[in-house]
Amino acid sequence: MKTKSRCNPTRHIGTGMLRVDAADKVRGKTQYLNDRTYPGALHATVVRSPTARGILKSLTLDPAYDWKGVTVATAEDIPGENVMVMHDRSMPLMGAVGAELRYRGEPVAVVAAATAEKSMEAADHVRLDIEQRPALLTLAEAIALFKKSPKKLELLKTQNIEKGDIRRGFAEADEVLEAEYWAGHQEQLYLENQGLIVFPRKDGSIYVEGSIQCPYFPVNELNAALDLPPEKIRVKQTPIGGAFGGKEDYPSMLAGYAALPALKAKKPVKITYERHEDMLFTPKRHPVWVRFKTGFKKDGTLTAIECDYILDGGAYLTISDVVMYRGILHCALAYRCENVLIRGKVARTNSMPNGAFRGFGAPQAIWGLESHIDAIAEKVGKRPDAYRLQIHARPGDRTPTGQLLTEDNGSTHCLDLVLQRSDFAEKFKQASRGKLRKGQNKYYGIGLSFFAHGSAFTGDGEAKFKAKGRVELALLEDGRPGVNIRVSSTEMGQGVHTIFTQIAADGLSLTPERIRFPYADTGMAPNSGPTVASRTTMVVGNVVYRAAQDLRNQIEAFASRRYFKGAAARMRHSKLHAKGFRALPFLRVARDMREELGEVNGAFQFILPDTVQWDQSRFKGDSYPGYSWSANVAEVEIDPLTLELTVTRVFDVIDIGRVINPMTATGQVEGGLTQALGYAVMEKMGTGKNGLFDASRLQTYIVPTALDVPNYDVKFVEYPYPFAPPGAKGLGELPMDGLAPAIANAIETAIGVRLRSLPITPEDLFNAVIPPA
C-alpha cells in the first residue's frame, strides 16, 4: 500500500523525534491551570443533590448566613434553555425547583466567592428540600430487573446490528455456548483534576480556559443554555495533565456551572475539583453486562453470534448512545461469521452519567468476546491461538455491518507475530491448569486476545464532519518567521504537538525548529474536531499534512514569481530551490512573503472517498473509515499460598498504519496497557447505598504503581491507511481494548477456572477455587 507523497521522501515522519513539550515538563515550568494566577477571579463550588433520586421541592439560602460577597447561581439564572445539548437535550444544566433530581451529586446551584474555602462554606448554607423517590443505583439491579421482565428496564437508547439470519445460524450449529460477562466502572484518573475558568467579556461573550480535551465542545454545548451564539464562546486549552476521555464530555458541564455565576457576578469564575470531588462526580467508563450466545460447527466454524450488550448510562444519556454504538460495532468485529445479531442498550440508573474513557465501549465488548472465543476454543478442543488463526477476519471478509475489509488490514500479521514473539504454543503447554507442574512454585498461565478497533468517528461521521485545519505563516517568539499549526487537537500527554510538528515539517520540507503548535484555541484554530476516537493522527494528521503541502505550494509559487523569474521553485530542507538560481533560505522568503501578502495560510478540509458508505438508520455499511488491529498475549503467575496474581509479561503486536513517531507510539501503548492492567485486576469502584462510589480517593481506588507493571514487548506492523497520507490509523485506544480478556484467559489456563467479571482480584480467585468452609 503506497501513500501519495508529492516529492520529498519523509524526513521526520517515522523517526523518534523528541517531544517538543518535554523540556518544560522535566523542569517543572509547564503551567497547568492551577499553576496560573488569576487575580480577581472568584472560586466556585457546586451544590449537589444529596440524594440519588427525588423531587427538588425548594432551594433556599440560610438567612442566618452572611452572603456578602457570595454569588449564588441556580437554574433560574440560566439565560437560555436549562439544557446540556449533548446527544438528546435531556440533561438539565442545573436541577431546578420542581424537577426530578436523578443522581446523587446532580448540581442544583453554583456558589462563587473570593476564595474556594469561602465558596465551600457558603455552599453548605444552601438549603434543599427534597421529596425522596426510590432509586435504581447500579447496573446489577438493572440487569436483575431486565432478566425478570425486560420491559421494566428504563432504556435511554437501543440499537441492533443484524447480518444474515440468526435463526439459520443456530440451526446450522452443532453446538451452542452461552455466557455472561460483567465489568464495573473505571476511573480515568488523570493526575491533574478537572478545572477551568470562565471570563465574562464586556460584549456579552465568554472566554473559557482550562484542562479541556475538546475545546469546541463547550462552544456548541453552551450556546443553548447561555443563549450565546458559538462565536461568542471562545475556549482554549491549558496544558492538560492527562485526560483519557475524562475531559471530553465533562468540561462542557463544568464550563456551564462556572459560566452562571461568572455572568451573574460579571467576574471570572474558576472551578477546580479536588481529587475526592473529581472521583465522586465526574463520568467514568460505563459498567457493562454482555451476554454472548454463539453457535458453531464441530470444527469451530462460527455459524451464529447473538449478543446482548447493555451499558449503564447513568442518569442521563449524555454521549452514551455513541459509546454503545462503538461497543456493539466491536462485539463481533474480528471474526468470520455470516449470521450475527447484536442488541445494544443503554440502561438508565440513578448514578453519575458515564462518559468517555479511552476505548469508548470497545473494551467492554472485546472483554466479553475474547473471553467467549477462548471458551469456544476449549469446547471444540482447539488451542486458543490455532482457533483464532482459523476464524479471524482478514482482507476480503465482511464485518457484521457488511463492510469489506481491504488490504490495509494487518490482522493476520498481528496474530502471527504476537504468537511468534511470545512463543505462545510452547508456553501454553506449561500452563498449570489448577495443578502445579514440576518446577513450578506458582500457577502459571498464558492467554491471548485479538481484536480490531475502528479508527475515527463511527460511520460517515468524518465524511460529514469535514475536519478543518490551517498551517499559517507567522512570526515566532524570536521575531523571525516560521509556521503555526492551527487545529483544535489538544495535547494531553499523547504527543500530538510533537507528531504534528513532524508531519508539518515533512509536508513543508521545513525544519521542525521553525514550526510551532500553539495550544488549541477556538478563537484561533478552525474546528478539526475533538481529540477523541483514535482519530487525531489519522484524520487531523492528514489535514495538517495537506495544509502544510498547500502552504508549501503557495511559498513555491511566490518564490518562483518573486525571485526566480517564473522558473519552477521547490522547497526542500528549509530552502527554496530553482534551476539556475542560488537557493534562498525559507526565513528570507517567508519574511518577504508576509510583507507583501500579509496573512498566508495553507488550509485543508478532510475528505473521504465516496466509496465509504454508511446507513445510520440500519447500521449497515462502512462503520469506520479504517481499522487498526492488535493481538495481546499475557502471562500470569498466581501464588498458590494466597492467590495473589502477578501479570509478568505482556506482548502487544499492533497495526496502526504508518507509525509517525515510534517513541511516542510505544509510550501510548505501554501507558494504555497499564490502564488495561488496572481495569483487569485492580481498579474497582462499587456504589454504596447512599449512591456514592465507595472508592473515591487514591487510598481506595487502586491503580498500578511502578512495581505492578509487567515487562512489555510492543511491536508495530504497518499497513498504512490509503486515503489519508501520511497513512496513520488509530492508536490511542487500542492498548486499552484487549488486555483484560488476555489476562482472564491466562488466569483460566493457570487455575482452570474462567472468571467473568472485571476486575479479577485475589478475592474473586478465592471465591472461584476454594470451596466454602
Binding site: V26, G28, E192, P239, L698, P704
Partner: protein
Amino acid sequence: MKSIERTWKLNGTATTLRFPAGRRLLDLLREDLALTGAKEGCGEGECGACTVLIDNDPAVSCLIPAGQLPDGTTLLTIEGVEKKRAGRVLQKAFMETGAVQCGFCIPGMVLAAYALLQRNPKPSTAAIRTALAGNLCRCTGYVKIIAAVKLAAARLRKTSSTPG
C-alpha cells in the same frame, strides 16, 4: 494561627520565611514562593506529584506542616534540580527516552529518581521500580521512566564517581 520563622537551604540558597506553622509545605512552595513545579494530585500522600527532597529524602509535601522543618533543613524542588549535574543528566534522559507524556507526575518522578541515584548510583531495575513506586503515573506505564533513570545512572557513572 501563629506565624513562625524558619531559615532553610532552599534549592541551594539560604531562605528565611514567615508562615503559619501548620501551612502545608506544598502550599508554601506553590503559593508563597511561586514554585509551582510540585503538583497537587490527591492531597493525601498517595500520588507523589508533590514530592520534594527534604535533607535528600523524597517526601510528599502535601502531608508536611512546614513548621516541622527545622532551621537548617535542606530542601530541593524541581526548580533547583537543574543546578545539580545529576539533575540535569536525569532531565535530559527523561527527554531522550520519551519518559514524559502529560508531564504532571514528572517533577515528582525526577526528584524521586534523583534521591535514588544519590543513595545508589547503580540501581537495579527492581530498585528503580521500588524507588518510584510512590509516584503514580497514568500515562506512561512507567517503562520509559525506568529506562530514563537507568540511562541517567549509566551516564553519571561514566563521567563521575559521585552524582551531584
